[in-house]
């Protein structure tokens, strides 16, 4: 089965996010003063072949640990969506 996998990689809360801070400042300047706590990360999507969603989830988490995220500064969250469900 082909699964569609979505991975969110974000800086750990303890790591300063200069990009987020800069965007937040820009948003305030544009008048969007209520925007707070802006953080910028990466959004990785891919298709994975797996027997079931659980296997796809495990495989994706493995990829994150191995390559996609750097555990010293980043954390990740994986979501598996059935290929057919994707719009």
């Amino acid at each position: 089965m082909l699964y569609h996998v979505q991975i969110e990689i974000t800086l750990k809360p303890t790591v300063m996010d200069a990009q987020g801070t800069t965007i937040e400042r820009a948003l305030h300047k544009l008048g969007h003063t209520s925007a707070a706590n802006v953080r910028i990360g990466k959004f990785v999507t891919m298709e994975l072949d797996a027997a079931d969603p659980a296997e796809a989830q495990a495989a994706a988490e493995e990829l994150c640990r191995e390559l996609l995220a750097n555990p010293i500064i980043e954390q990740f969250a994986v979501q598996v969506v059935d290929k057919e469900q994707v719009v």
């Binding site: 200069a18 390559l67 750097n70 010293i72």
Partner: protein, 238 residues
């Protein structure tokens, strides 16, 4: 004595390191293609700057899986020397040869400029020709050179004297203004616990010629050669 300069797809300071190491020391230098696995002929491996694999996803993230990196790990475990410069430093942290991580500069811009550094430790095979706390000028050229390590790691680095270069003013003060990227503790370069692996963001190979900016980097390459010779003699005597 022989240097090797690793070439990943996307390395772009490989030729500069090759030229500097050879020109300054008169020793043999060869390129090491990233798929090589045998480094037994080399005494010092230089992992050069550039954008290995485009620095896509994260600097150094893909390069560290190249076959050559296994050999570099072995080379380091044998006590031989490894220097990672700029992107090379990033690759070494990704590969776990050096602690911590390097990420996006705090001002979000790539920055290329001459940069003053204080030599924090001279008890390494790389820096023993410098004077204690000597201020040198190596340029920096990076977009993701902000050093980060968790508090425990950072404390250990400082306690062990593993911080080798720190960004500073021309007068040698490590102020916030002298910090070009937001690195913790103004860290520009560190070594591993056994002090045979060095990583630094600034480019010593760009300061090996008066004509192109200065010669502060020469002592690093010369220092390595002397260390290699001493090491070879002591190994031979064993």
């Amino acid at each position: 004595m022989k240097f090797g300069v690793v070439v990943f797809p996307g390395s772009n300071c490989d030729a500069d390191c090759h030229y500097a190491a050879g020109n300054v020391t008169g020793q043999e230098v060869r390129y090491v293609w990233h798929e090589e696995r045998d480094l037994s002929d080399l005494d010092c491996v230089i992992v050069p700057g550039g954008f290995s694999y485009g620095d896509y996803l994260r600097c150094g993230a893909v390069a560290r899986f190249s076959p050559v990196m296994e050999a570099v790990v072995t080379h380091a475990a044998e006590g031989k020397y490894v220097v990672g410069i700029c992107n090379g430093f990033q690759v070494l942290t990704e590969a776990g040869l050096l602690p911590g991580a390097l990420y996006r500069n705090d001002h979000l811009q790539f920055v290329c400029q001459p940069q003053h550094l204080r030599v924090e430790a001279i008890d390494t095979p790389f820096t023993h020709f410098y004077k204690p706390a000597q201020v040198v000028e190596f340029p920096i050229a990076h977009g993701e050179g902000r050093y980060y390590a968790d508090p425990d790691t950072l404390a250990a680095l400082e306690a062990n004297g593993q911080v080798i270069f720190r960004y500073c003013t021309p007068a040698g003060e490590s102020t916030a203004e002298a910090n070009p990227n937001g690195s913790l503790n103004n860290i520009a370069g560190i070594c591993n616990e056994t002090r045979n692996v060095l990583g630094l963001m600034p480019h010593p190979e760009r300061r090996c010629d008066r004509l192109v900016g200065g010669t502060d980097g020469k002592k690093l390459f010369k220092g390595i050669v002397e260390s290699m010779m001493v090491r070879a003699i002591s190994m031979g005597h064993r």
